[in-house]
């Protein structure tokens, strides 16, 4: 366990749903070659990996989506890269590029998929803790992917590189 850190690994994202869980377990085993993780920490990694990869398989057209895994002490950073168009929000929310920086705004991907985000620069934002106390069943969303990543991580940031036409999903975990 005294291997030199940081370690940077580049991984291809699986293309089929039935490969997701085995991929997730492989990533977890790789991290655990370098860091001891308790059960709760292992679960956080698994949930994040499952949702990042599921999101790609569900929404991305990039055949070469990839993940960069940076294992360091005390952080693990999981970055997903996907070529393509930037994220677009529905309704009347601000779109990328943002006009106002360091603002908390509400965005929506669909009627039941709303999030609060903090704009970090014109092409970058951070997902904020999604919960409102006392949410009732009819207010509960039916889309949980980004919620789960936000809740299971210490920070979840989206960035678009307009020159590379690349989406980046950056997840940081203090482990």
């Amino acid at each position: 366990m005294n291997k030199t850190l940081p370690i940077i690994l580049h991984l291809d994202i699986p293309k089929h749903v039935d490969e997701i869980y085995s991929f997730t377990k492989t990533v977890l085993a790789t991290i655990m070659e370098y860091k001891e993780l308790d059960l709760a920490q292992q679960r956080r990694v698994k949930m994040i990996m499952v949702e990042l990869v599921t999101n790609s398989i569900k929404h991305s057209t990039d055949e070469n989506s990839s993940i960069k895994l940076a294992i360091d002490h005390p952080t693990v950073c999981i970055e997903k890269f996907e070529k393509g168009l930037k994220i677009e929000f529905s309704s009347t929310a601000q779109q990328i590029p943002f006009e106002e920086i360091d603002k908390t705004i509400k965005i929506s991907f669909s009627e039941e998929n709303n999030h609060h985000i903090q704009t970090l620069d014109r092409y970058k934002f951070k997902f904020l803790n999604p919960f409102v106390e006392g949410l009732s069943l009819d207010q509960i969303p039916e889309h949980f992917g980004f919620y789960i990543i936000t809740l299971a991580s210490d920070s979840f940031v989206y960035q678009y590189d307009p020159e590379m036409k690349e989406n980046r999903y950056i997840v940081n975990l203090n482990l």
Partner: protein, 111 residues
């Protein structure tokens, strides 16, 4: 999507016969259960005894099923979830919305 159905009085028991409850089978599962509700089942138990992991797509399907039961005053109980799945419900606070039980026997008694 492999499931098996049992009837215990007026309670419909659905056992998921898959290791993975995910994007590949969530829509089909939702449609199967919504058909059950449409055909009159109001008391439902879903057992996850064989399920190793569950993703956000399946979580969304379960929320849709619970919402579909609401107008009928129906009830849904989820049972036999492993620790990873229970943890996912706790993280998303859906453990406050769904009724979770350790086993089928106790779930049946809940009705």
């Amino acid at each position: 999507m492999k499931i098996s159905k049992q009837q215990s009085g007026d309670i419909g028991v659905i056992i998921i016969e898959e290791k993975e409850a995910n994007l590949s089978n969530s829509d089909e599962f939702k449609e199967l259960i919504l058909e059950e509700i449409t055909s009159g089942t109001r008391k439902l138990i879903i057992s996850f005894k064989q399920v190793e992991y569950l993703d956000s797509s399946f979580l969304g399907a379960l929320v849709a099923i619970l919402k579909a039961l609401l107008p009928y005053n129906g009830k849904l109980i989820l049972t036999d979830m492993n620790d990873d799945i229970v943890n996912l419900f706790q993280l998303t606070r859906l453990d406050k919305i769904f009724i979770l039980h350790n086993d089928l026997e106790n779930a049946v008694k809940e009705f």
